[in-house]
Symmetry: C2
């Protein structure tokens, strides 16, 4: 009881400090934010030894706790990864400042001059699993967009995150960045997350969860403030009857196998029943040759006996692994229907040389990203030319698709008059 009272007070102070920092950050110039980011990049390099020592302890503890190889790989830092954090921070420093842009401006008949101007969102809370690089990336994206950030990483990466945070604070000591622009929740008490989800007395404007489905689902269910997240990416590739065979083969294998663990990886392949049987066999063979398990419907198993049977559950599943579910559909409309039924509104691609079919697919589907003759793995802020991203939005509000620095801003209306009153 008394401990929770203390934690409550500690978190409340954190919220107030963040709110005050956000007010100061709204006033920073583009140049001041750029300088702060370059200072942080230098500090990350300067602190490399300390960061790697802290990370070593985290990794050893994770090994003792018998965590999976995948978790340990995400947790582990080395010279190359610290350098990538520093370089990533420099790249974000080089992005155009997204704050203060005039998004629209018009004059009313009564002479009122109305401008819609981009502004920072305010205080962003980032709740993420044990990937220490997110600590640096998220901080940099929030600084570029003029937001204060409260970071809460997974407990397995606590020492690494603290070391990275010390580097950021060390950098901040000399520049214009407010001291509490980037705060790290150091307690591993999970009650702290619950308090953040409630918004810390109205000081948090936006929560961004990053991690597995259970983390994101918890945040979406419990949060009392807006959340920007994607729950899962059940991405589809539809090979239409008028597909170019070479494009169909190249795009499908890339969409599934380039990297299987990212949200833009394809999980289901829809083959039009009017595609040549040879093309279907070639595509499935390409995937199998790359080590992909095929789970097919009866038709697929008839032409590709190595395929296992797909169950209803498969069409709902984001494997994030070298597995693909494959279904034969009668036509374009059936493909659209399948995606609307089982998809997660993330990213879908049609492969076809038929412009009308492509445009129908692009218009009918309500996913954040729809592609024609291109790999679903392009679902990425960097590939979109937006610079780094903090995540991919699959909700309907505010921002969909890659969330970069521009999407971390909001706007206000600035109205200039000369004494107008409303009749």
């Amino acid at each position: 009881m008394s401990e929770n009272y203390e934690l409550n007070a500690e978190m409340a102070v954190l919220g107030i400090e963040a709110r005050n920092a956000a007010r100061a950050m709204r006033q920073l110039s583009a140049l001041e934010k750029t300088a702060a980011l370059l200072d942080i990049a230098a500090a990350l390099r300067r602190h490399e030894d300390e960061i790697l020592r802290a990370n070593e302890q985290d990794v050893e503890a994770a090994k003792r706790a018998d965590l999976s190889a995948a978790v340990i790989d995400r947790l582990m830092l080395n010279h190359v990864r610290v350098e990538a954090m520093a370089k990533g921070t420099e790249d974000i420093a080089a992005l155009p400042d997204p704050v203060g842009r005039e998004l629209a401006r018009w004059t009313r008949p009564n002479g009122l001059d109305i401008a819609r101007v981009s502004t920072p969102i305010g205080v962003i809370a980032m709740i993420y699993e044990s990937r220490p690089n997110v600590t640096a990336d998220a901080a940099a994206l929030c600084i570029r967009s003029g937001n204060a950030i409260i970071l809460r990483g997974g407990s397995e990466s606590a020492r690494s995150n603290q070391a990275i945070h010390r580097a950021i604070k060390d950098a901040g000591a000399t520049g214009k960045l407010p001291a509490h622009a980037v705060q790290l929740v150091e307690t591993t008490d999970r009650a702290a997350v619950g308090m953040m989800l409630k918004g810390l007395d109205g000081t948090i404007d936006l929560i961004i969860p990053r991690g597995g489905k259970s983390l994101v689902a918890r945040v979406q269910n419990e949060a009392r403030v807006p959340v920007l997240a994607h729950l899962e990416g059940i991405c589809h590739v539809y090979v239409h009857s008028a597909a170019d065979p070479a494009k169909a083969r190249a795009v499908t294998v890339n969409a599934k196998m380039r990297r299987t663990g990212i949200c833009g990886a394809a999980e289901t392949l829809l083959l039009d029943g009017k595609c040549p049987k040879e093309l279907a066999i070639q595509i499935l063979g390409d995937l199998a040759a790359k080590g992909c398990e095929i789970r097919g419907d009866d038709t697929i198993r008839g032409i590709f006996p190595a395929a296992r049977p797909a169950t209803e559950e498969d069409w709902h599943t984001e494997y994030l692994d070298a597995i693909i579910s494959v279904k034969v559909v009668d036509d374009l409309e059936k493909a659209i229907r399948h995606i609307e039924t089982y998809g997660s509104h993330h990213t879908e691609s049609i492969i076809t040389e038929d412009r009308a079919a492509a445009e129908r697919f692009l218009a009918a589907l309500d996913s954040a990203i729809v592609l024609w003759n291109a790999s679903t793995q392009f679902a990425d802020g960097g590939e979109f030319g937006m610079g780094a991203e903090i995540g991919i939005g699959t909700g309907k509000l505010h921002a969909r698709g890659p969330v970069g620095v521009e999407q971390l801003t909001t706007f206000k209306y600035v109205v200039r008059g000369n004494g107008q009153t409303r009749p």
Copy 2:
């Protein structure tokens, strides 16, 4: 128990019908939506007698239940008000279609052609108090923006809402509008609202509450889906030392007294201590002459003895009535500090001839609308030239300020390639 089971099933069907209607509405052309809106306007006129008869029963029941005169005035319809609903629907029919606009388009070095295209949000749930005109307005705004809507009005207006809804359905019977584009929750069981707040199995994309503070607060606290709302409008007018006296007088009295019950009405007046005492007395006299109660700090009470003392509570209060709290502040920075402490991020105005002071005020404040030398009562979609509005957003995400048809859309990325794969 069995009743709730039935209600659950009924509401689930409502959600599924809305989702299906939303899919069909995404495909409607601008012209088809315009035709549907004109049909609805005609049907509202055709059904006037039925609507007025139903409304009479609602008003009589409200009188028997001893509801306040203000509630009954909002509830009451007559020929002029039905005509205003029909005319409002025609005005919305005349707005440019906000769907399918190309918001941005660029080509990547690898040849990918990326377009950001506006799309409807999907299914919008509107939860509102007993103002029957909202039934028609909200339906029209959602149809123009290609969204399906689920309406849940206050129980006092149930018969009126049903009559208006019958008119809308009657109109829809002949055109391209899906039968379930506009649905009304007819049960007065409050459990239905709870189900809507949970999102009806993921079918609701956005909830818009409209009504008093307690309704909005309940929706914001309980909703599991995004909410677009404003909780309150504690709007400020700051009369700077370099204010033009005539503008200061005209704008202040208009901001407070033009209509006191709307969210853009000023609630607090901040007078710069360097303003001439005569100007202060004139402004307070203007307000008092219009029947406004003045609640002032000690300085104000010294120069304007009719003022009552303002308490700490007053600075936090949205009166929505002919009352204003008045405070003398030392300078611009103190005015900004006061607004940041007590304001609700809705609308604030500075009156000054000093451009630098004005620009500082406009930049420093983080409200949805900031004005220079103009009345806070311009906080309105119509006055902004956006056509009708469904409300004013004071949150940070998606849309701030007036929420018109454009703000009722979202976007998706349409990417056209020629076989690109990601390296």
